[in-house]
Amino acid sequence: MGGKITCTLGEVKNRADFMIYWGGNPAECHPRHFTKYTLTQKGRFVPQGRKGRTMVLVDIRETPSAKAADLFLQIRPGKDFEMATALRAIVKGHPVDAARVEETGLTVAQLQDLADRMKRAKFGVIFFGMGLSMTRGKHMNSGAILTLAAEMNAFTKFVCMPMRGHGNVTGADVVLRYTTGYPFGVSLSRGFPRFNPGEFSTIDLLVRGDTDAALILGADPGATMPQPAIDHLSRIPTIVLDPKVTHTSRLARVHITTAPTGISAPGTVYRMDEVPLPLRPALASPFPTDEDVIRRIRLAVAAKPAWEPPAHVTMAIA
């Protein structure tokens, strides 16, 4: 059933002699990724740095990242899942349909060559970007890449890492996991954590109009989410905690200005590889931190007579 085979970025820096960037444009979106962690750095076991590494870029268009690559594979939009799955078969020496492979924009020969290079690697890594995880197929595109990397370990050392979005996405994921057991799409409405992406994930809830209030923290959905979701946010009482005015704060019923985390508020940010980094406030802020505000809201809510803890679970609901 595959799984997730990954590592911290230092492992890549010190060991990776082969890397695939898939569905991302690191040169522009994660500029320091190349220089700090992966490509150009001299590593403990890759003393020649860039010369010691092979980089493959898989993307739908020739971005500036392509220049940095030793091999650029241009794939037709929306064909990542097909390509990754065909590659899984080819890596194992199982048959694929040449004509249907070519619908991905690549030939069997190209995939065979890639498979051979991957097997020759001493330490291989695949980074995949949102060009993969946010296009048609979503989590299954990611799943295909993760499974490919896992299965490669039957031949050589191989790991895989998603290039997460901006902000502390990983941090939210990490904290939700240890407090609720699930990374995202969690509902606490029945008094205990439940997980069901698509049912409880934010965009889906808003698009279906399943919520009658919203508290927005460290995000600006008003700028990024689909219009129906934004429309619902403006229909319901929406509360925004944000140091600055945002698209969301403009449509919100309430905007509480908070101290900018990392600048005026301490905390922890998690790198895409889940390495925690402490944030030390540099400047004082007249505004409360997000944490202060949330604590005070919770206390106020708990003090309300109407607040009652949920009764017993009538059934274990998935």
Partner: protein
Amino acid sequence: MITLTLKELPSVPLEAEVLSPDVTAGLSNDAIRALPVYLGKRQRRIDDFFDVDGSSSDQITIQGDAARVKWIGRAMTRGHIRITGNTGMHLGAYMSGGTIEVSGNGADWVGAEMSGGLIRIDGNAGGQIGAAYRGSSTGMRDGTILIGGSAGLEVGMRMKRGVIAIGGPVRDFAGLQMKGGTIILASGAELRTGAWMMRGTIISLRPLPLMPTFAYAATYLPDVLRIYAAYLRGLGFTLPFDQQQGAYQRYTGDTSVPGKGEILIWNPRGA
């Protein structure tokens, strides 16, 4: 027969797993009125939302637009639920027996991880029909799901046994990681049908775009389809198998797994 009439559409989803013959059978109407349901985080009573009529029975009729009512028929083992109108997510999830009929539309997770019984929806349904919940290794274990209209993503994901037949068009990943059972797509499906399937049968009566990891085997009429045709005819669903009309193209895969699954695509004579 117990009849529940929805007073109005709840403002947020209402979780009502108590709407199951196993729960209502043998309860007085007052006891049914007092059963707990959950509106968001608040516990409420059935009669806050439904008028309850009729008399104690394992036959339940639900009237009104229950599109926001989740978990109807959850884990039911017997009896009959008839919904005149729409229904919310998780209809008949985990059910092992009995029958659910819906005259309107269903939502996601219809019959998820069910192990027996029959669900019939006349209108459209959402995604993950008869599927495995996230992380589970196995979806639908047996039983039958019939959808008159269209369906969404990941129909029959990781299903192991049973039959899912869908009249209208189906979206991506039908039969994803399928382990067994049969999916019938009367109007075909979009992309990645049968992706990563290990075992099982996907029958499409319309041409399908196939993954590169499926290999053509033969064009023929599998005798086993005659059994399915007979079974489905009893449920008002026609599966062609007359050689005068055409034959099925058999593709096997998914070779990336590697899987022993099959996709059978109906190829009308002269087409």
